[in-house]
Amino acid sequence: MQEGIAFTPQVAASTIAKALWLVPALPVVASGIIAILKQPRRKAASGLAMGSLAISLVLALVAFGHVLAGWAHGAAVRETVNFTWIRVGAANVELGWVLDPLAAVMLVMVTLVGLLIFIYSTGYMEHDENYTRFFCFLSLFAGAMLGVVIANSILLLFMCWELVGLTSYLLIGFWYQKPSAAAAAKKAFVTTRVGDIFFLLGIVWLFAQTGTLLFYDNGAGSLEALALGGLLVHHAAWGLTAAGAIGLLIFAGAAGKSGQLPLHVWLPDAMEGPTPVSALIHAATMVAAGVYLIARVYPLMQAGALAGGTTTALTVVTWVGAATAVFAALIAVGQDDIKRILAYSTVSQLGYMMAGLGVGGVAVGMFHLITHAFFKALLFMGAGSVIHGAHEEQDVRRMGGLKSAMPVTFATYAIGMLALCGVPIFFSGFWSKDGILEAAQHWTVARTPFYMLAFGALLTAFYMTRQMSYVFFGSWRGHGHAHESPRVMTTPLMILAFFAIALGAIGTPAWPWFQSFLNDQPAALELAKFGEAEFLGLLATSAVIVFLGLGLGWWLYGNKSPKAEEADALERVSPTLFGWLRDRLYVDELYGATVIAFYAWWAKVADWLDRRVWGGIVAGVALLFRGLAQLNRFLDTNVVDGSFDKGCEELATSGGLVARMQSGRAQIYLRLLAAAVVILAAILIWSSRG
């Protein structure tokens, strides 16, 4: 079953809602101050970053408390603060933020996980010379992500979305001197860009159709009944309504950011960034932004669904999510880099979240998002700790036996791993994943996603066991001596481990607080739910799947520690299959052969066009002008000057000629005078003879 979000009409904004803009603004301001600080001021940088995020956390908790209080009293809270940014003719460009349960839980999660990772980073990046720059970018990222969370205007959301993409680029390519890191950053940016193009199209279409940028605006917002009704009337192509088409376009954007098939290729490469970056961005927050986006525009995705039925948009979301979950899990089986296994695991879990949104609704998907944020961040930070302790080694085949050398890391990592696998009862991952599986089981359209997701769960358990056995069990195969990480790194691990267990409590069927909170329903404690047949059946199924995966993994890998050069156990079983999995199922190669090859060819065409055609035209024009200039000069010298000079010369010559007539002798003049008089007189006399 799916539930949308139906709320009572909005109330006027409370104080905390009005002050909510501080939550993203403070980290951004901190980032700005760090940027202009005289380098290096390490303590100041990290202090500013952590301090601003800590205040944001406090504000987020206050907001959460406010929303919680409202929910507890039966009055759902959705408060918005909107303002007009620019007036363009008759249209207004509006921005604004919203405070509702969805935003509140996300705010708390982001600020809390973010703060823990900031603290962890002070230890991890201790020896890095660009410490200050790191915290500047990290702070900016936190601010941008928080902006995405609270945005009530789709334009503001997009602006913060792009800022998140930018800071992710800056952080992935943090060690920019490494060519692989620079390439990975570029890949991340370009791939998410592809998704963002569709997202932008969706935004423009939505704005054009509904006339407003705001989600919630006292009944006039684009996610409210009036606008949705209007969207349903219009029909786009292929039997889709406008609502469905816009939903799919927005999903394309989310697919880019959240690494769904086929835009997942950037996420594993993004592991080139420092581990805290992987933890924050690629586990907890940025990749979750896509899922959050779908949750935010869920009324749009769900518009037009009949009771018990679903829409085309949500069907697409489900299938894509399920496919991603299985695909990525398969690839994770064949990877040897500790972070890469986790990266593909993230992609797989994101697929789960999207599928959960599709089959079960906002609460189901969001619950898995929240729990995943905590245990994935834990796993990444644990991996960072392992890398730190193994002297920057990242290949799992060169690790081993670390459970005795790094006990705290081992314990916390184990908790995270069990949560990820969804080991029943105690771990939050079980409850959130179970919620998705349960919803998939009851999906009206098809059963296949359920089987895919179940298979994915099996694979998850399998590859995580493989990883654990390589890293922590067996014997040490690396160089040097492994040691435990400092307290500043292990303490956040412990805090996250606590949450990885504890969060399960808020989402059980007996007390579905999380789901009720998001859906504005009262939550009642019904322990009897634990005894229901349906629940027990699903519990059994999940347990079987998980333990099967764990067992299979342990059987193949267990305490054995094969040398790095030896073949992997699975490889020995099926070399070709393992080879495909290790080569990431050739998706990158496919892109290289098609899109990138075309792009390179097109770049060559454009260069030829630019140099030959446009360049030729410009050169031709230049030549023409030179020719004209030469002609002009020729005319000027010969015709104008020439004629003038000639004329003067002629005058001088003729003057000379005439002057020669002057003999200078008076008698000659006199003679001429007399002769003239004679002629004149003769004429006169002759003419008067009449």
Binding site: V658, A659, R660, M661, Q662, S663, G664, R665, A666, Q667, L670, R671, A674
Partner: protein, 106 residues
């Protein structure tokens, strides 16, 4: 009487003297002779004037006579200046030969 007017004789004489004076002014080399020729021309003109006065209408208005008298006066002044000039040129050029005076040659 049917005879030609007596004026004709005087006019012809005047014309002849004028022509002679002109010929002298045009052909002789010496500057002073040019002046002599000019004096002859002026005199011939005076003769013309007087002749027309005598035989023309209204001789009692004395127009012709006055004209001739003024002409004589002016001619005298002109002869004085001209000869002064010739003397001055002679002092400078040491000659009165007109053929050699071509400083104004173009």
């Amino acid at each position: 009487m049917g005879m030609a007017s007596p004026l004709v004789g005087y006019l012809l004489v005047a014309a002849l003297v004028f022509a002679i004076g002109l010929a002298g002014a045009l052909t002789r080399r010496n500057a002073i002779l040019v002046l002599i020729g000019i004096e002859l021309m002026l005199n011939a003109a005076n003769l013309n004037l007087i002749a027309f006065w005598r035989y023309g209408p209204h001789p009692e208005t004395l127009t012709g006579m006055m004209f001739a008298i003024f002409s004589i006066a002016v001619a005298a002044a002109e002869a004085a200046v001209g000869l002064g000039l010739v003397i001055s040129i002679y002092r400078h050029a040491k000659t009165t030969d007109l053929e050699q005076m071509n400083r104004m040659k173009g």
